[in-house]
Amino acid sequence: MFCKDSWDWQPDRKVVADLSRLRSSYAGIEEFAASPDGRVLAALVKTEDDQFTVWANGQEWPDKFELAWCLRFSPSGKLIVLVRIDDEWTVAADGKSWQERFEYAWDPLFGNDGLVVGIKYKRENLYGIAIEDKVWEKSFNGLRDFCLSPDGLRAAATVQVKALREADIFGFFEGVWSVAVDGKAWDKQYINAWNPVFNADGNTVAAEVRTDICDYTIARDNEPWDSRYGCVWAPVFHPRDNSVIAAVRNQGSWMLYRNNEPFWQGRYNQMWNQRLSSDGSRVAAIVSPDFGKWTIAVDDRPWPKLFSDMVLAPVFSPDGQRVAAIVKDGGRWTVAVDGVPFKESFEMIWDPVFSPSGQQMLAMAENSGRFVILANGRKYHKQFQKLWNPVFSPDGKNVLLKYIEDDKYCRQVVPVEELLG
């Protein structure tokens, strides 16, 4: 993945940047970003003349901007930022701005390989998507939810295809929303459409749609499922057979459906954020078996342990055998793996990361502003001022840590054994 093989995996610690020096060199530091391989620390900086530019490992980009925000590294290490030049917005990537300029541009998304970036834009009060400096041929009266195909080459978005007069409730209920794929809207219009998603090959799109005041269903490539439900949540594609899987509300309870047929038999008080293992053989979702109680169900079997506050989307190990999720109970956050929560809980915790074999698991957590790493649930002895999510080496033997301590940004490779203690 993203040539992780080529990263430097020798156990070592390097100070990449001194933040106090950086701070003293500029009028303001607005955002930080660390590259996926940890070698670069970038900052969005405000210069003395009230302009903005990007600083990366001591180098400034040649261009300055009137305004800039949303500094992000793509998974492959491309550095982008949204910038305003002469009162128009565009994307600047690795120091070079796009040719296309917009009244506004926002919400950058990357393809999985990290080479492609897509954004939403507005021009003359119409909305569209631009991918790598190429705009859609057609733009729309409104545009909200947006996704890229896994290769980043195609885009789908929910779009408003007709303008509505103020408070035109009748026009609204005739349906003016649809899904546009690569700038072409589906023929059918809906009262609402939300959360479009591509399949793995990027050749089919599904979304939630609303067909009457309280009739909801899933539509795929312009065709809604035959049945209507009291509510639905975002669909996902099966990675192998391209079937569409979504939670639907049927007779007051939530069930998991696949291509409009019951997939799981369980009826839940709530269910959402279903995720599939990489081969699609297992499915996990957040469920509420009873009011006020939450857990993860894997293949329709809820974990026996229930949580009162919140459960976040499940994460599969690469081999699909293990499932972990962030859980919150009694005001404290932790991670539960295969239904068993870590002993310790935190003020905040981030999504767990499995090793390639699925045997080890790391998570970063925070208490009172200090960050820690949990290795298989045990706290590593070091604490940090700021930490980025840890990354396993492809062979699973080492871990890349990116952190700030004593106001210095460091890249450190640590053998897994050391973290496990």
Binding site: C70, F173, G252
Partner: protein
């Protein structure tokens, strides 16, 4: 049903939509809502009510309309829900129109009447059940329905486009920097302590409130963020129009946005119904007993800032002030004393209202009533003469309203009854009187 001036009001959301209703459709929806969605609680309330009428004295519409029994809470229930129950949903479309008018425009679901009922019957809930029926039948005042449609399409209540939202925050950040150069409105800052969420009128028509909060957060030294995605609007008129599916979708996104940003708590601006939606009705419909991440209302937030000394007052506000107690945060959450602490800390001369705290009268703008729009404004005003009299009796120059609906509602009352008062949010006074440390000054 009796003809009143209000029954002649023209509203396409009621007049046109009933033309499509069939007796079968009405019956099916009524039966569904009464038996599938609400059976147990409804039965308890209907068996308990002894029709004593004690709830009447609670209601601003009844008091303001010369104690006309037609406007008493129990009469509103009798003319709507009990009719539907008694006739098992076999009522003509015209009745649905009248019921819709009553439940949406003549009751602000303020729950004052529950305090007067010896059995604590939640009359507002009963009227919300009728709203749910009207919503499923599509018979909702047009402007309120449009607000719900906005929630459904844009996840905010005023059709604010995503670019407008971000652009407004960036513009207000610059405005705030003109006062305090280090002001920020940090967007999408993962791991911040606080996510600040607001209701859509702030970016749409009251953008300066966003600049104000940037100044307050900066002086108080709060680590905060605002989302640059949908999910920033904490308001929820779908909760009041009876479209619970849209309500749930909006609340889910709000809470998932807070979880995505990894904040410890959500602080919300000065709005009452949004507090109810985000803390009670929304989470419960979704399956949470309480909000998944703590939510702090602006009143509590300002209270903490003043109490802890994070915000100090340079010189108290000079004009005499009174307050409007928002039903959802004062009657619903008991924040009335904290509100008074904040007002006393910020202002030199506070004159309390009578009745006050949880007994205060509703502004008659909440509960979705103001969102029913211009056709119903006069009715709202006539329904709240008592509020005009109450405010006038204080003699104060300024009415502080820590809620958007109260703010607009009291402004309407001030205009309609020619009261010569100003209406302000707490934050407007706070930025005026707070001490800005020298280290932050330009």
């Amino acid at each position: 049903m009796r003809e009143t001036p209000e029954s002649l009001v023209v509203d396409p959301g009621l007049d046109e939509t009933i033309k499509k209703l069939t007796p079968e459709k009405i019956q099916t929806v009524v039966e569904h809502v009464l038996t599938k969605e609400n059976a147990a609680r409804l039965k308890v309330y209907s068996d308990t009510c002894v029709h004593c009428g004690l709830c009447a004295e609670a209601c601003q519409t009844y008091i303001s309309r010369d104690k006309d029994p037609y406007y008493s809470p129990v009469a509103k229930v009798k003319n709507t829900l009990w009719e539907l129950v008694k006739n098992k949903g076999r009522v003509p479309p015209e009745s649905i129109r009248d019921m819709s008018r009553i439940v949406f425009t003549e009751c602000a679901v303020c729950r004052r009447c529950s305090m007067y009922c010896p059995f604590g019957i939640d009359i507002a809930y009963l009227l919300l059940v009728v709203r749910r029926i009207c919503s499923l039948l599509g018979v909702v005042p047009a402007y309120l329905q449009d607000t719900t449609n906005s929630h459904a399409a844009t996840m905010n209540q005023m059709w604010v486009q995503q670019d407008e939202w971000i652009d407004t925050l960036q513009w207000q950040e610059e405005e705030a920097q003109a006062e305090i150069p280090s002001c920020r409105i940090p967007l999408e800052k993962e791991g911040a302590e606080v996510m600040y969420s607001v209701i859509a009128p702030e970016p749409k028509i009251l953008a300066q409130l966003l600049g104000n909060i940037s100044q307050i957060m900066t002086v108080a030294g709060i680590d905060w963020t605002m989302p640059a995605t949908d999910g920033w609007d904490n308001s929820n008129m779908a909760m009041y129009s009876g479209d619970f599916e849209v309500m749930g979708r909006v609340e889910r996104l709000h809470w998932e946005t807070a979880a995505r940003l990894k904040v410890k708590k959500v602080v919300m601006g000065e709005c009452g119904h949004a507090f109810r939606g985000a803390v009670y009705d929304g989470p419960r419909w979704l399956g949470w007993k309480f909000p998944p991440i703590p939510m702090v209302h602006a009143i509590e937030f300002y209270y903490d800032l003043l109490k802890s000394g994070r915000i100090k007052v340079r010189e108290k506000y000079k004009k005499s002030v009174t307050v409007q107690d928002p039903c959802n945060t004062v009657r619903g959450r008991g924040l009335g004393n904290k509100l008074r602490y904040v007002v006393n800390e910020l202002c030199e001369s506070f004159i309390d209202v009578d009745p006050r705290l949880e007994h205060n009268y509703c502004c008659m703008a909440g509960g979705g009533t103001i969102n029913c729009g211009p056709p119903w404004k006069r009715s709202r005003m006539v329904s709240n003469r008592v509020k005009a009299e109450q405010i006038e009796a204080t003699g104060a120059d300024v009415v502080i309203t820590p809620c958007h609906n109260c703010h607009s509602g009291i402004e309407d009352i001030v205009g309609f009854y020619k009261l010569k008062k100003h209406v302000k949010f707490i934050s407007e006074i706070m930025v005026e009187v707070m001490e800005i440390p020298d280290s932050l000054k330009a």
